[in-house]
Amino acid sequence: MRRERRLFLAAGLVALAAGAGALAQSGPRVIKVVARRFVFTPNRIELRKDEPVVFELTTEDVFMGFNVPDFSVRSDIVPGRTQRLSLTPDKSGTFTFLCDVFCGEGHESMNGTLVVT
């Protein structure tokens, strides 16, 4: 009887651990984006509709911006810091993201593509 109770408790602990693991896996996907004059890396990002993601934004040189106008989200990208920006795309399609802080002669071409399927 006592042995059966221990087995039952052990099974419960395993189930709890599995549940915690599942919770960890269901958190938003993190996508690292590095900015430097005048490119984003990566400059093409694939997302799933309704999938929450977090962009972790850093810059290798100057102050930048990361703007996704079609989803009305943006963030500054400050040298020496990691900026986190959440997005859950609610529509499919191909969308532009861009630097919206003027950073020099190549600023106008500093953009990338979000592909949401």
Binding site: F63, G65, N67, P69, D70, D76, F95, T96, L98, D100, V101, F102, C103, G104, E105, H107, E108, S109, N111
Partner: protein
């Protein structure tokens, strides 16, 4: 002949929309116009210092041609306004000042007494307007001419394309001193509305400026930045963008990338030009004419 040479845009006609009409082309005179009538010229986006033979093999010749074209107008404008991006951006502060000085020296050849200058992000964003102000003074200001109140806004010397709370407070105070029905013309470099944020054709806090301007009953905005003619209404307020003096850009979001339109050797200077704005009836009506550079 009263000026009917221009195709003109009568603002606020037919339910607040902008109606483009065509007038006769040719010479004209202001001799029989009303005393309060006047006209001014808008030039924009000369990007002095730009190099890119595929989009303009005459980069150093286009601005002087524009100066010559303005000087050849049959009637001298009352004044000229440059709505920004006088020079092309550079990281080098010495080179920036050299370009600003060359630009200043070239436009000194304009045979017009009064010229108002504004900054673009290419002139001013990388040093918050420091060099530009050494040459041309404050980046936002007002002036009055023949009953029209002109307001020049700076939405470029902050690289994040903001007017900022301080300038917005200044604008609010200036507007508060005007009658609600005052004739007001606003100049800016970037559009004050979200024309195409995907191409950075916007002002981050432009909506706040529009909130301040909307209670005024007679406001028109002229701007540059997008290197093409564009007309838009925010309520009763018309926005008109100007052509460039260096290269044209495609229509907003008409293609995936905001790339300059290549030079057309069969039609050199196509898409480039400047604008005449004629103020009639004490500024109650503004008529626009788009003028080419060289052989367009």
């Amino acid at each position: 002949m009263k000026i009917d040479r221009r195709r003109f845009l009568q603002l606020g006609a037919l339910g607040g929309g902008a109606v483009l009409a065509s007038g006769l082309a040719g010479c004209a005179s202001l001799a029989d116009s009303d005393d309060d009538d006047f006209y001014f010229v808008q030039l924009s986006d000369s990007h002095w210092g730009f190099q890119g033979p595929k989009v303009n093999p005459d980069a150093r010749g286009t601005l002087p041609k524009a100066v010559a074209a303005v000087n050849a107008l049959p009637v001298r404008p009352d004044f000229i306004v440059f709505t920004g991006d006088l020079t092309h951006t550079t990281d080098n502060p010495v080179e920036r000042r050299r370009r600003l000085a060359e630009f200043r020296d070239i436009v000194a050849g304009l045979d017009v007494k009064t010229v108002h200058f504004m900054a673009g992000e290419h002139d001013a964003a990388l040093d918050h307007g420091k060099a530009w102000m050494e040459f041309f003074g404050p980046t936002h200001y007002t002036f009055d001419h023949k009953g029209v109140h002109f307001i020049a806004l700076d939405n470029v010397s902050d690289p994040a394309a903001r007017l900022g709370d301080e300038q917005l407070a200044w604008l609010a105070a200036d507007l508060a001193a005007q009658p609600q029905e005052a004739r007001i013309v606003v100049f800016a470099h970037r559009p004050l509305f979200d024309l195409a944020p995907q191409w950075d054709w916007a002002t981050r806090d432009g909506a706040k400026a529009m909130e301040l301007l909307l209670p005024c009953t007679n406001v028109t905005v002229f701007y540059g930045h997008i290197h093409q003619e564009n007309h838009h209404m925010t309520g009763h307020i018309a926005h008109h963008s100007a052509r460039s003096l260096i290269f044209p850009l495609p229509a907003p979001l008409s293609q995936p990338k905001r790339e300059p339109i290549p030079w057309d050797a069969d039609h050199p200077y196509r898409g480039l030009g400047f604008r005449e704005i004629e103020a009639e009836d004490g500024g109650a009506k503004l008529a626009l004419s788009e003028m080419p550079i060289g052989r367009a």
